[in-house]
Symmetry: C2
Subunit: 197 residues, 2 copies
């Protein structure tokens, strides 16, 4: 049976990145509450990615349709084990940028691939990737100007490495695309190993 790839996330950045792995797929964003019982950032993103992928897999899977391969992902920024999500407003964005300015933080993405095997039995794999990001010292003026671009507002940690924030990122260690929102090299490898490509 033909594979039916589904991205369980409405993020335009993840949508663009998944194109590097599969050429055709649908986008069906999960609607469940994004609450985690875990306080460990790595466990948290794994758990949330599992919830998203599981929700959509069970919504669309029937034994007589194409075999669905559902990808769920969740990304957080962690600084000294404190989790920074999406900013509530501009002041919150400025506060987050002051925290990450002049230091190194961690970006964690959890990913779950939910699929049906040859026998129609459901299976899944969950993993996370970690990337360390070094941010230059930012002046208050630079923080203000950056927040005025509106770029921080829909992003964990209040920045987009792929946008205007690039000038403040002196270096990273790990997968760049993990910081954008989807660890494409690891996801490709896992899907290849599971014969899902």
């Amino acid at each position: 049976m033909k594979k039916r790839y589904v991205l369980a996330s409405g993020s335009p950045r993840r949508k663009e990145l998944l194109q590097k792995i599969v050429s055709e797929y649908e986008v069906i964003p999960a609607e469940g509450e994004e609450n985690s019982i875990s306080t460990d950032p790595a466990e948290m993103v794994e758990e949330l990615s599992f919830k998203k992928a599981s929700e959509i897999f069970h919504k669309i899977f029937t034994n007589d349709t194409d075999r669905p391969v559902v990808i769920g992902a969740d990304t957080v920024v962690s600084y000294n084990r404190r989790v920074l999500g999406k900013p509530r407003d501009e002041e919150d964005a400025k506060a987050m940028l002051r925290i990450i300015s002049g230091g190194t933080h961690t970006v964690l993405s959890g990913v779950t691939v939910f699929y049906a095997d040859e026998n129609g039995k459901e299976q899944h794999v969950t993993f996370h990737e970690e990337t360390f990001v070094d941010v230059a010292d930012m002046t208050e003026k630079e923080i203000d100007s950056y927040v005025l671009t509106k770029e921080p507002m829909d992003k964990a940690g209040a920045y987009g490495i792929q946008g205007q924030f690039a000038i403040f990122v002196s270096g990273i260690r790990g997968d760049y695309y993990n910081v954008v929102g989807l660890p494409v090299a690891r996801l490709y490898k896992e899907m290849k190993n599971l014969n899902l490509l």
Copy 2:
């Protein structure tokens, strides 16, 4: 006097990246031969970036015009101190990809900023940035498919990290944009320190 920013490179990737630092600039690609007397990759990219920036600065600078700020850049891939430039043809691209598959290589970008100071006297700063790139093991089939995308043909080391090659890059250490062709964080910092922004 108003500053006039000029990029001395015709690379569409550098053109896009410079937008993260300055909003308005011209593109005047240097035409000189890209030959270096150096065999050290870091010295080579610094020397070539200097030649490009110097050529364009001296072509456009007159004492009664706007003050030009000319940016020249050059990027190479280095593996075990062997320099990989742009591939000559598809076979050469495949050979380069076999070399970097399953290992770590270095991407070096040299940058020169050529400008006139308050007294109209010419000045310049030259630097290089180094980024380490880990590439997954690629099968011959993966190498063949990637070369068929034509993406390798105009790129040092026969790959574009921003394109389909992303699925093979398991991690980097350093500035991602340095691998794309322009180390934007370092260039922003240098231009800010020189009061050129």
